[in-house]
């Protein structure tokens, strides 16, 4: 018996594909949990249609003995749940792909003689156990056994998961799971599969998180105690997360009637001393524009999380893109400082969101966190978070009589009082105002001083920019530039290329740019920018502030994230073309 090709891999990609509501999520949760518990590095990456039922969605689960966190095109094990699954993923399926599923979901598309197909009628088997619903548990049982994972982990998971259900349901699920194990043994034998991925050494504690949850955790650790938002895919996960933990951490969570209300409520709460946040996507953020400007004018801190999706207008609600950088950068009329952050790794999203609240308070400016659908739905294990340097910096003073909210200071930052704390009166005015906060039309004096005061804060902000990460050697010939969620895919592509002359500069603060940006770029002979949008919005920003034009652009705007393979190939080609 010849060995199946997946036997020798140290990194396996499993894709589950089917209609919304068919249970892909159940299987995904089961597998990620168990594989994590068993000590593997696990990453789950989702793509789904904008509908509640039907359609064809998929989840890619990567299992490895290394830290893999990016999307790959390659499918090692494919599990179709419906008839359209194979056609939807056709270009990713090769003769090496092990396809496991109901014959009726496979054979109309693929020839059993040419492809590596294992036909299992799990619906029928599930019905024999008691109900077709158990077919998902059978599927999970098959996969876990292929990885030789201890039965007890699976049984424990099922007991915990169905703890509120009847003993009968727990029993039937365990029966289905063990049946899946049996089937896996048969498959392993007939196909010559012997997966050898080694679980990682359990030296440090790891947590399994997704992008939305880690942003929410960052917000909690940043002292966020007020979130008002209007639900909008793909940003709502953060609102859900904070709502779920609101009772434990004293967070006021309110669903607004619209995004305009959300940001104005956030600013009202912040004016009165709350640490406020809103979460939205591009369309909702567009509605918040005037509120962003208000934040700039009344110098009231607010943290805005934008989970980007492709536009214009409704665009592709459940897909991904990095197309709202310019919207974030230019939203709101008039001139005022702002900060824009864009985490690339899940771990970074925690520290960045945490810090966003401190930055907003310190500089009294709006702070925008840009993620995207790919990032918020991305799920993998990270080392437990280190809180030793995490602090919640409050920049609120107790006011005295005669307090001036907009007192002119050397660096433009006025000590911030809040109503009801001290004897002073706190006046916030969206009109141009004097130091007291009273409306003014003193054009030559007060107006000029106030404009300068607000912009001086930008100079202070610039002293606190998060530096970009240089991944790779310092003596590079080619520098690949990326920002936000493309971080893991670019890093993995460069690892697979193994060319020491290529390094990667990842920006997790995209505005203002770090002062060393130009220096980093000028050192390279060849610059390549990678962005999940069509016009290279970050490239334009770099050009604006460094006067350096990055001609070599790798852009993707299909609504899907970059895969490691396509980036590897495109970066390789870009480097070769230059030689």
């Amino acid at each position: 018996m010849s060995k199946h090709t997946i036997s020798d891999k140290s990194d396996i990609s499993i894709v589950l594909c089917g209609a919304a509501g068919q249970g892909i999520q159940t299987v995904e949760q089961f597998l990620t949990h168990i594989l994590h518990e068993a000590g593997y590095y696990v990453a789950a990456l989702k793509e789904y249609m904008s509908r509640v039922r039907g359609g064809t969605n998929s989840t890619e689960i990567r299992i490895s003995s290394d830290k893999v966190k990016a999307y790959v095109d390659r499918i090692d094990i494919f599990i179709p749940f419906n008839k359209t699954a194979i056609s939807r993923q056709r270009k990713r399926i090769t003769k090496d792909t092990l396809i496991i599923g109901e014959p009726e979901n496979i054979l109309h598309e693929l020839d059993a003689k040419e492809y590596n197909i294992v036909e299992i009628s799990w619906t029928k088997i599930a019905e024999e156990i008691g109900h077709r619903i158990y077919s998902n548990t059978i599927a999970a049982g098959v996969i876990t056994k292929l990885f030789n994972i201890d039965d007890e982990l699976g049984k424990k998971y099922l007991r915990d998961r169905f703890a509120n259900k009847s003993d009968e349901i727990v029993k039937k699920n365990i029966e289905a799971f063990l049946k899946g194990n049996e089937i896996a043994n048969e498959i392993a034998k007939s196909k010559g599969i012997e997966i050898k991925i080694k679980p990682k050494k359990k030296t440090e504690k790891e947590i399994m998180v997704n992008g939305a949850d880690i942003v929410g955790m960052g917000a909690i650790a940043g002292g966020c105690n007020f979130i008002c938002s209007y639900p909008m895919s793909p940003s709502t996960g953060v609102l859900n997360f904070l709502a779920k933990h609101s009772a434990d951490f004293d967070i006021l969570v309110e669903q607004a009637e619209d995004e305009i209300a959300a940001i104005n409520a956030g600013l009202g709460a912040a004016y009165a001393g709350a640490r406020a946040m809103v979460t939205t996507s591009g369309g909702g953020f567009a509605l918040m524009s005037e509120g962003i400007s208000l934040s700039g004018m009344i110098e009231t801190p607010i943290v805005i999380h934008i989970a980007q999706r492709p536009g214009p207008a409704t665009g592709l609600p459940t897909r991904t893109e990095q197309g709202d950088l310019e919207l974030a950068l230019y939203s709101g009329h008039g001139d005022f400082p702002r900060i824009i952050l864009a985490p690339g790794k899940l771990k970074d999203a925690f520290y960045i969101t945490q810090e966003a609240f401190n930055l907003a308070e310190k500089f009294q400016v709006p702070v925008i966190i840009l993620t995207d659908q790919f990032f918020v739905d991305l799920y993998y294990n990270i080392p437990s978070l280190d809180l030793s340097n995490v602090s919640i910096d409050k920049h609120i003073i107790k006011t005295e009589e005669g307090y001036q909210r907009y007192k002119l200071t050397k660096n433009g930052i006025s000590p911030r009082g809040i109503p009801g704390f001290g004897d002073g009166l706190v006046r916030a005015d969206s009109d141009e105002h004097d130091e007291d906060g009273f409306i003014t039309e003193d054009l030559d004096n007060t107006r000029v001083k106030m404009v300068e005061k607000r912009l001086k804060k930008l100079e202070e902000v610039k002293k606190n920019v998060i530096p970009p990460d240089l991944i790779g050697g310092k003596d590079y010939e080619t520098l690949v530039i990326g920002w936000g969620s493309t971080c893991n895919a670019i890093t993995e592509a460069l690892t697979s290329l193994g060319d020491k002359s290529i390094s990667f500069l990842h920006f997790k603060q995209v505005y203002p740019l770090h002062e060393k940006t130009k220096e980093y770029l000028e050192k390279a002979k060849n610059l390549i920018i990678v962005e999940n949008n069509v016009t290279s919005q970050f490239g334009k920003l770099i050009k604006l502030y460094t006067d350096l034009e990055i001609e070599n652009k790798i852009l993707k705007f299909t609504g899907m994230p970059f895969s490691v393979e396509e980036l590897t190939e495109k970066i390789k080609k870009a480097v070769e073309d230059k030689k």
Binding site: I220, A221, D250, N264, G273, L387, P419
Partner: protein, 284 residues
């Protein structure tokens, strides 16, 4: 009470309202009401949007949040939610409150925060110099509605009562005694209180003048039962004449009484400390 002794009075300041504007009566009456209710300037936050009426916080000695046009209510309930010890009054004109801010009006009624919402209703846009407002009467000619207004006027009272608002009243800027009584009741009411104030605009509204209002306003009878929602709705629906008084009162839990956050502690949010040890225990 003499104007000078009022602790909310700003003294000799430049006020941008036209001579004879009803806003002056509203301002003076509000200052007197606040003193009589024993409210201190540092405990009061006035929240407004944009427009001539929305300038009122600037003319009162107090904390204020003079925000965006149409957006007085979202910051108002949020300020109260961040610090329930503050007295919060959202005050703006009819364009700001019922036009630009119409959606917030509807949903703030549903939310029932413990705030007072005072609306200067002069049936015209003043600051933009005389266009129709949501409450303008059909037929009123303006620079934009050159053939006269063709849209039915917005009735804030029937809408609020329809939404089961917890307090709905109307008064008239030409009767400061009645206005003060209504302000007192509205501010003291626990929950969202709408006080619509009919107010002539002497510069731009040549239709709804002092004389016009004088001929049309009258007082709800003492026998009016403000807990009778359908009767309240019927009286608020009158269009030829304008009854004044408290149309509707409904005793119901406020936003914060329904929210978990203040059930275990009455501390404002800024005082509460985040427990990072608890965070570590929960998530790490």
């Amino acid at each position: 009470m003499s104007k000078k002794t009022n602790r909310f009075d700003m003294g000799d300041i430049d006020i941008s309202w036209c001579p004879g504007c009803g806003d002056y009566q509203i301002l003076t009456t509000l200052q007197e009401t606040l003193v009589e209710l024993d409210i201190q300037p540092k405990d009061l936050v006035m929240v407004s949007g944009i427009g001539q009426a929305a300038k009122i916080p600037q003319y009162l000695k107090c904390n204020y949040f003079n925000g965006l046009h149409g957006r007085s209510l979202p910051p108002a309930w949020a300020i109260k939610a961040a610090n329930p010890n503050l007295v919060v009054i959202a005050e703006s004109g009819d364009g700001c409150s019922y036009g630009e801010g119409g959606n917030h009006f509807i949903h703030t009624v549903r939310r029932n925060p413990d705030i007072t919402n005072i609306v200067h209703n002069n049936m015209i846009y003043g600051l933009t110099k005389g266009q129709a407002s949501p409450t303008s009467r059909i037929g009123m000619k303006t620079g934009v509605q050159v053939e006269g207004v063709i849209l039915d006027p917005f009735n804030p009272l029937t809408i609020a009562i329809g939404l089961d608002a917890s307090f709905v009243a109307r008064t008239y800027a030409g009767d400061t005694k009645h206005m003060k009584e209504m302000m007192k009741q509205a501010i003291q009411h626990k929950g969202y209180a709408l006080l619509d104030i009919l107010q002539p605009c002497v510069s731009f509204n040549k239709l709804n003048t002092y004389q016009w209002f004088k001929e049309r306003v009258y007082y709800l009878e003492e026998s009016h039962d403000p807990t009778d929602r359908f009767e309240a709705l019927r009286r608020a629906s009158e269009v030829e004449k304008f009854p004044l008084g408290i149309f509707y009162v409904k005793d119901k839990p406020t936003f914060l009484e329904k929210h978990d956050l203040y059930q275990k502690s009455s501390e404002p949010l800024y005082i509460r400390e985040r427990d990072l040890k608890k965070f570590a225990k929960k998530f790490l």
